[in-house]
C-alpha cells in the first residue's frame, strides 16, 4: 500500500520551465528588437512584447522557488501547466491557420513543441509527486 511519491519528474519539468521562461523573459525585456528581427516579421513597436517578458521572468523565478518542495505548490504547478498548454496550442494554431511565407517556421515551431512537452511533463510530474 506504499504511496508513489516521486518528485523527480516534476523537479526536472520545473528546471526546464525555469530555464525556458528566464531565457525568453530576458530576451523579450532586454533584447526586444533583436527578437523581432529573428522572427522574420516586419518590425513593429517592441513594447507589445516587452511586458510579457516581465511576466515570464516572474514565472521563472517562482519555478526556482518551488523547486525544493514542488509537491506542496500544487496550484502553481497547475497554473504553469495550463499556461504552457495554452501557449503551445496558440502557437500550433498560428502554425496551422495564420502562417505567412515570410515567417521563420522554427521560430514558432520550436517554442510550440517545447511548451507542449513542458505541459505534459508538468502534469505527469504532478501525478507522480502526489
Amino acid at each position: 500500500m506504499a504511496e508513489d511519491k516521486n518528485p523527480v519528474i516534476l523537479k526536472v519539468a520545473l528546471i526546464i520551465f525555469a530555464i525556458v521562461t528566464i531565457v525568453y523573459g530576458i530576451a523579450l525585456v532586454f533584447f526586444t528588437e533583436g527578437f523581432i528581427e529573428m522572427s522574420g516579421t516586419d518590425p513593429f513597436e517592441p513594447n507589445w512584447i516587452r511586458w510579457p517578458g516581465g511576466v515570464l521572468l516572474g514565472l521563472g523565478i517562482a519555478a526556482i522557488m518551488a523547486f525544493p518542495n514542488p509537491a506542496k505548490q500544487d496550484i502553481f504547478i497547475i497554473a504553469i501547466g495550463l499556461g504552457t498548454l495554452f501557449t503551445g496550442l496558440t502557437l500550433l494554431y498560428e502554425l496551422i491557420f495564420e502562417w505567412q511565407p515570410q515567417y521563420s517556421v522554427t521560430f514558432t515551431a520550436i517554442p510550440c513543441v517545447i511548451n507542449l512537452i513542458m505541459s505534459a511533463l508538468l502534469f505527469w510530474g504532478r501525478r507522480q509527486a502526489k
Partner: protein, 133 residues
C-alpha cells in the same frame, strides 16, 4: 475570525482573477480588440495571442488560491513580481517611448492598475504570511 484576517489576500486574489481573466480572454480569443484599442501601426495578432494563454492560466490559479490559500506563497509571490515588472515595463514605455499614433491611456491604465496590484499582493504576502508559507 481567521477569515477576516485574510480578507485582503482573498480580495486581492479576486481582483487579480478578474484582471488576468479579462485580459487573458481578450488577448487569446480577440487580440484584434486590443490591437485596435492601442492605435498606431497594427501588429500580427499572433505576437500577443500566446500571452493570453498565460494570463488565463494565472487567472484560473488566482481563483484556486482564493478558494484554498494555504501554502500558496509562491503563487502570490510570482503574481506580485509579475505585476510589478509588467507595470515598470509599461511605465518605461509611457515615460521614454514616443507614443505617436498610439493610445497612451491603453498603456497607462494597465500600468497603474498592475502597480496597485503589486502593492496589494505584497501587503497580502506580509499579512497572511502564516497561512501562505
Amino acid at each position: 475570525m481567521a477569515d477576516k484576517k485574510h480578507q485582503l489576500l482573498k480580495t486581492t486574489m479576486v481582483i487579480l482573477a478578474i484582471v488576468t481573466l479579462g485580459y487573458g480572454i481578450i488577448y487569446l480569443f480577440f487580440p484584434q480588440i486590443q490591437i485596435t484599442a492601442a492605435g498606431g501601426e497594427p501588429i500580427e495578432p499572433g505576437w500577443i495571442r500566446w500571452m493570453g494563454g498565460i494570463l488565463l492560466a494565472l487567472g484560473i490559479g488566482s481563483i484556486m488560491v482564493f478558494r484554498k490559500p494555504e501554502k500558496q506563497g509562491i503563487f502570490v509571490t510570482v503574481s506580485c513580481i509579475g505585476s510589478l515588472l509588467f507595470s515598470l515595463a509599461s511605465f518605461y514605455e509611457v515615460l521614454f517611448v514616443d507614443f505617436g499614433d498610439y493610445n497612451l491611456l491603453n498603456t497607462l491604465i494597465p500600468a497603474i492598475v498592475l502597480f496597485i496590484m503589486a502593492i496589494l499582493l505584497w501587503l497580502s504576502l506580509r499579512q497572511s504570511r502564516e497561512i501562505l508559507w
